[in-house]
Symmetry: C2
Subunit: 318 residues, 2 copies
């Protein structure tokens, strides 16, 4: 019977965390929850993660909470302990089960803002801001779109590849709510006939997508294992949890792994390029600007199977 | 009697604008107003302005609404017409008058977000997002701080001075809610013993403060008029409304005006440097890094008197 509901007709479920509800409390996401003086709402001064749950099981939960903690450290925003996030997410999933409408897949967003300026929500820094998780069903259409090859434009991110090292106040490497540029880049791509974006640094290095990590492969010759490469984190990109989980499983499978300063030319020379993200998994790139790229269904399926192993993620910066 | 209330004990007043209330509707800013899926709240995907009202008269209203419209155009966010913003602001000021507690000065913030993804608030693009104005009393202490010389650190903004021209998706020149970097730069300044920041481009040009415009003066020699200079807008900085109003009045007073590509060395060589903003007016810079700068009370008072004229602002990019 549970099979009969339409997932895109199922409502979102939201759970807030505060010092009085460290295990979370359900709220209606269609009702207003944030004050207009919350720094998350008026300064993009907050951090977030987006995770994927399949049949009620959250993928890469620890990797996302680890990255949230890293963003928290870089921004100086206090966040609740892992147990609170875990309990809040579980409460949200349980709510779907109670209603009898647990979708096959959920998008689960964790958000922490600095809260209202000058009015900490608690004396405990771990609960001084505003915190919630939002669970949204992923429609069958969105899931069917996974694996469909896309066309990507290269857009200049404005920063050079060394900006992150010399200017920590740029918050490169923190996943903040200040995403207006990422959204503008995606709109620019759509308006010019592309599906997505790969950002490049002003000095010509490959960085990341606005909501994804770049991954490329070279097939091994003469029985050698394939070699996966992703841009080095020192460029200030986000450590990708999906790329990290793929690397972990690929290492166990005997593949070679590399972190590069990468140029667009190396993308064109690769045997396959993907954009990786928690909700879209590994999306094959079939075209970059006007250059057609090879795509290989089998390789994409291999990466997807790596992801299903849900191995712990260990980034070089961790 | 109206003189007896403490301005910092007076509550903020908030007015929202929507298609059913194009003239605004009062709400309690201490109550939640925003959904957790509003793109302003979770993507910093919105725009704003901060204005100053003195004795219930809004300074530079048109210049702020013009800049909001420019930000709206750069981001593709629909906004209500000027009349709506004007009516909402007047409603907020009237609310203070009705309560008998109109503060001598108010900070007035205008905010427009892209609204909830996929759920426009109206079919009319001018009312499809989320819109409000927040009026907050400016305390006597804050007002007394104006004109006090400050120490400023130069921080690399990561972009070169030509990034705005070649990469419009960076939204340089739009005043968006994605202000996490601006806030981080200010925190970095305070943590290292400074009061504020002047951003420089990665190629060494002077840009702007995180919440202010840079202005410098050279006194005229032998009876020549003084010359005011501010960084050129082509660098992607915000067109300053306070700097613009000062320029308008200075032009009428026969001063010379200039827009420069400016280097830090030119700041050190100036006769006076200010950071200009709507709430702090013209703040004298007494030190940049470890270099002491001359400050001149009389010149600052002159700029303040220019501001009081509240002349129309006309930027070279307008």
């Amino acid at each position: 019977m549970a099979e009969h509901f339409r997932e895109d007709s199922v409502a979102a479920v939201a759970v807030r965390i505060d010092v009085e509800h460290p295990q979370g409390m359900i709220f209606d996401p269609h009702q207003p929850q944030l004050r207009v003086d919350d720094l998350g709402a008026v300064r993009g001064d907050g951090i977030f993660e987006t995770m994927n749950a399949v049949d009620g099981e959250v993928r890469k939960f620890q990797a996302h909470v680890d990255r949230l903690a890293r963003s928290a450290e870089l921004t100086g925003i206090g966040i609740p302990p892992t147990e609170s996030w875990r309990a809040a997410v579980d409460l949200g999933i349980e709510e779907y089960r109670t209603r009898g409408v647990l979708p096959e897949e959920l998008s689960i967003r964790l958000v922490a803002t600095r809260g209202v300026d000058g009015e900490p929500a608690s004396d405990d820094p771990a609960f001084a801001g505003t915190y919630w998780t939002l669970l949204t069903p992923i429609s069958p259409e969105m899931r069917a779109d996974r694996g469909k090859p896309i066309a990507v434009t290269l857009l200049d991110r404005g920063y050079d590849a060394r900006a992150a090292e010399r200017a920590p106040w740029l918050l490169l490497g923190a996943k903040t709510l200040s995403y207006a540029v990422n959204m503008a880049a995606l709109r620019h791509a759509k308006a010019t006939g592309f599906d997505d974006v790969i950002f490049t640094s002003s000095d010509g290095k490959v960085l990341e997508g606005p909501t994804s990590t770049v991954l490329l492969v070279h097939r091994g010759e003469d029985g050698q294992p394939p070699r996966l490469t992703t841009p080095e984190l020192e460029t200030g990109i986000l450590p990708g949890t999906t790329q990290g989980a793929i690397f972990a499983a690929a290492a166990e499978a005997g593949w070679e792994l590399g972190y590069g300063p990468l140029t667009p030319e190396e993308l064109y020379d690769a045997d396959h390029v993907w954009l990786c993200s928690s909700l879209r998994h590994a999306t094959p790139v079939a075209r970059i600007e006007d250059r057609e790229l090879e795509v290989d269904q089998e390789l994409t399926e291999k990466l997807t199977s790596f992801l299903k192993q849900d191995l712990p993620v260990n980034h070089p910066l961790n």
